[in-house]
Structures are given as structure tokens and as C-alpha cells.
Symmetry: C2
Subunit: 306 residues, 2 copies
């Protein structure tokens, strides 16, 4: 096999109570990436469609991740990466994670799969570090493993795949403003009040339990964030109105997707998820702010060959 | 039925990564409580064996909890409570929770069970508040529901019973010094560094996942506490030596039981739990500090009629 094309899905990280540890994988939205073996060793970026991203291999998230993999597993041939970038950078649904995961997944396939999907996370982290200033696995893990994932430790990359209740559907609305992860991090406080931290980990524990027991009511009650949301909401126009409208339309919960500006909601069933999307749209229509809406089941498979 | 005797088990709260939210119920250690209907309405404390606790119904944890129940469910007759107090107050294995839970459980039985075990937590909270200054359900929940429990919200008393991996055995060593919960709370900081809070909720999520999947390795990796233990360890002589010796003897994890001074360990299987107990003892023997050791499977039934 000399060439492979992969679908690199978007993902939602943080999920209210799970800042920096929880994420889930989206189904219909993602990049396409073609990777081709070359005679000359090393990584080159061929074409980039859709977005103006750097072609310098040292500055592109996909090639930086690819080089990290090749450092651990040297190869006598090289790889050219062609990207059809459909996830807008800075949208909050894991644009850089899709690129980084795509490159390492595709090259791993072309090398005969020396690494497991779980092992690929460590290499993709190099790409994430380039994009966001600090490497986090909370988007990479769901893209590479599929479904819901928990990053127990970002240091040791101890990653757990969690079950997905069958009827969950995500609605994600992306207002057309760009937020850099690096800025969304800067707005956060370095300390958390102990009582709020306790509420947060109580909610996270309940959220994990609800995934195992398909308890949609508990899932809904646990989708709270008293720690991060109050700060990041300031960067997103109409955030609280959009969230309130989603809940009123029947969503189980709603919050900031990744570091924003996208806002996600989880609902039981596609019908409700559609209504939630309509309700969210209305808030941005009132502002005359452009947006895009994605409806998605939980993508349990993750990144895949097309 | 005019009289009932109940076994009120001890419990371990906090469990390293689960400060204020996680707990499990012990099997062999607990109080005995006899509750008898009386013609005169109200609550009286009859005899208290084992410990010098107040007989004034307004100052005793059991009677205060009982009165909270009777306020919600008035009765034309009263109740006398006789306590054989086997769990030493201030030992860190839920002495006040056993008393509070015992009184409300026994009276609920004598009243024909108007309340579920889950509903009884709210009344028992009144007793806990008397004992520790602030009402927390992290010991009450495992005593009343059995097994492992998660208190998602202490405000709304949203309590989840979690599964217990079949081979888990607890070793609890109680050095004979008394620590008041109120003092163990005072030593804590009001804020937590954000990075440590993230590690804590990552570990808690992983711990909950491990209970559902019987993943003893993950359970072990997640039994960490960077938030509370560093402060409370200062109140417990030899804490780090005892913990290290437990881990060296094969325990999955070890930490402070409740607010201390008891130290707990969880092991896979009784043989290891016994060796862990011997290793822990040795540290206190070197200090010539008196202690008591309990070995216990996870008590999945909780409080019960004897």
C-alpha cells in the first residue's frame, strides 16, 4: 500500500464537567487527508485545500505529529500529506487534533501498523502542542479511539474509552468568530475554589457512571461546569442565551465545545437534537452573526480509512 | 413490631481521589443499636455502652437525626434508642454516620418504611451536621445504601450506588489518637491549583470507570490525592510510611480514611489485604503507638436488621 485516504473527524472536548479530561467524537464533520509514500525520507505537505495553513513541515500540525512518529519508528521512505481541511481552525471542535491524528493514523497504516490507536496519541500530541501551546489529549483521544474518552493522566497518557449511550445525539453550533485555544487558556484562573472543585468532580464521577448505565437523567444533572464556563463564556457572544435555549428545547445539557466558540448540546434522540439546533440558531440570527450547525451521533469508531 | 435491633456499619469516605463524594461500606466493624417504641412521643436516649457520648437528645447524633425524620413524618408514639457504640468517635471510619444512619433506619422500619434508604440520607444529615460542623453525605450514603457510593451533589443529595469489584478487600488501621473532623477541615486550603484539580477529577472519573469494569490496574492508578492528603497527612503520625508499606505489600492503593487518623488500603483478595495489614502495623509498632486493624470485604448490603 503506497497511498491511503483517511477521514479525520471533529470532536468535542471538556464536555462541561470534564475540563481537560473528557471528550467525544463527531460523525459527519471532519477533514479528509491523503498520505502518499515518497522515495525521499521525511515529511512534505503537498496541497492544503479549504484553509490557509502553513506548508512548512515544521509549522504544520499534521507534519509535526508525523515527524514525532517517524522519530520513534524511522523509515527509509518518506510521506507526502495532502489535506482537505474542512474543520475550521479555532472553531472549538478539534481542528488541530483532526490533523495531528490523521497524519499519525495514516502513516501508521502505511507502515503496517506498528502502533495501536492508543499508542498513536503520544505522537499526535506533538502536533497539538504546536497548535495550542500545551499538549492535551482530550480531543486526540476521542478522534483516535472513537466514542467518549477519559484522559486520566495527560502526563502518562492513561486513556480510557468509555461507553456511549445509544440514543445520544450532539448538536454543535459554530458562530463564525475565531478563538485561539491559547487565548481561551489565558483567561482561566490558576486556582479553583475547593467547594467548586468538589462539585466538579462529583459531577464528573456521575457523568462517567451515567455513560455505563445509560442513565440520561443523571447525565443531564451532571452536565454542569462551575469552574471553567464562567470565564470562557465571556469570550462567546450570547453564550448563556444559546445554552438556555438549548435546554429549553429539551437538551440534556449544553456547554462550550473545547475552548469555544462552538457551543455543544447533547440530547436524547435526533428529533430533539434538531429542535435544539433550531433554538440555538435563533439566538445568533437575532445578532446577525453567521454560524454553522452540526448534528451528530456519537462516532464510536473514530478516525477511519475511506 | 415494637422493637428493632440494627447493625450500623463503619465506612470509609473520601477514598483518595474522591474527597467529599466517594465512600464505601465496611463489613465486620460497626455499632449495634436497639430502638424501642415508647408511649410518650419524642426521642430519648436509653443506654450508651462503649463510649462516653451525651444522653441529651439535642446533643446526640442519633437522636438529632431521629428528630429530623419525625419532623417530616410525625408519630403519635416515641422512640428510645439504646446504643452499643463500637466505632470510636473521631477514628475516621464514620462513627457519627453509623449512629445517625442507625437511628433513622431503625425508626423508619418501626414506622412501616415510609422512606426509601436513599430518602433516609437527608434526615441522617442532621446528625452529621451536629458531629462535624457541616453536613456531608459521603459516609452516610455507603452506610445506608451499601457498597461504593458517589454523592454527586451534597446540596440536592443526588446519590449514586456504584458497583463493587468482587475481589476488593479493605485494610483499615486506626492509630489510637483522636482527630475531630472539624479540625481536619480547618487545615485545608480554600482553593486548589487548577492543574491539581484536573488531575483529581481525571482520577475520580477513572476510579468510577474501574468499578464498572473490574479493572484493578486502573483502580490502582487512579487512587491518588494531590489535593487533600498533603495537608491532612500532617495530622497523622507516620502517614507516608504506613502508606508506602501498604503499597509495598501489594495494596492497590492507600490513603486517609475519612478525615483520619485511620488509614485505609484496598487490595485484590484477602491474602494480600492481610499482608498489607501486617506491613502497616509494623510502622506503628516502631512508634509504640497503639492501633486497631480491620479487614473487610466491601459491604454491599449496608445497614441491616439483626
Amino acid at each position: 500500500m503506497d497511498q491511503i485516504e483517511v477521514f479525520c473527524p471533529g470532536s468535542v472536548a471538556n464536555i462541561s464537567c470534564g475540563f481537560d479530561v473528557l471528550g467525544f467524537c463527531l460523525e459527519p464533520v471532519g477533514d479528509l487527508m491523503k498520505v502518499t509514500k515518497t522515495d525521499k525520507p521525511g515529511i512534505t505537505i503537498g496541497s492544503i485545500k479549504g484553509q490557509g495553513l502553513p506548508k512548512d513541515p515544521l509549522k504544520n500540525v499534521a507534519s509535526v505529529a508525523a515527524m514525532a512518529l517517524l522519530e520513534a519508528h524511522p523509515s527509509s521512505f518518506g510521506f507526502q500529506i495532502d489535506i482537505d481541511k474542512r474543520i475550521k481552525p479555532g472553531s472549538g471542535i478539534g481542528s488541530s487534533a483532526a490533523s495531528a491524528a490523521g497524519a499519525v493514523f495514516a502513516i501508521n497504516e502505511l507502515l503496517g501498523k506498528p502502533f495501536s490507536r492508543n499508542e498513536l496519541v503520544q505522537f499526535a500530541m506533538a502536533g497539538e502542542a504546536l497548535a495550542s501551546g500545551a499538549a492535551h489529549a482530550d480531543n486526540l483521544a476521542p478522534v483516535l479511539l472513537g466514542g467518549f474518552t477519559l484522559v486520566r493522566s495527560n502526563q502518562s497518557l492513561d486513556i480510557i474509552k468509555l461507553p456511549s449511550p445509544p440514543d445520544l445525539v450532539a448538536t454543535v453550533i459554530h458562530p463564525k468568530i475565531e478563538l485561539k485555544t491559547i487565548h481561551s487558556r489565558a483567561i482561566l484562573k490558576n486556582t479553583v475554589p475547593l467547594d467548586k472543585a468538589i462539585q466538579q468532580w462529583g459531577n464528573l464521577g456521575a457523568f462517567v457512571s451515567a455513560l455505563y448505565t445509560n442513565d440520561y437523567g443523571l447525565l443531564s444533572r451532571s452536565m454542569k461546569d462551575k469552574v471553567i464556563e464562567p470565564y470562557r463564556a465571556m469570550l462567546i457572544p450570547q453564550f448563556y442565551k444559546v445554552k438556555a435555549s438549548a435546554l429549553q428545547a429539551g437538551a440534556l445539557g449544553s456547554g462550550i465545545s473545547g475552548s469555544g466558540p462552538s457551543i455543544y448540546a447533547l440530547s436524547k434522540g435526533m428529533d430533539i437534537a434538531i429542535q435544539v439546533g433550531e433554538a440555538m440558531k435563533k439566538q445568533f440570527d437575532d445578532l446577525e452573526l453567521e454560524y454553522e450547525v452540526h448534528l451528530s451521533k456519537i462516532n464510536n469508531e473514530g478516525i477511519k480509512i475511506v
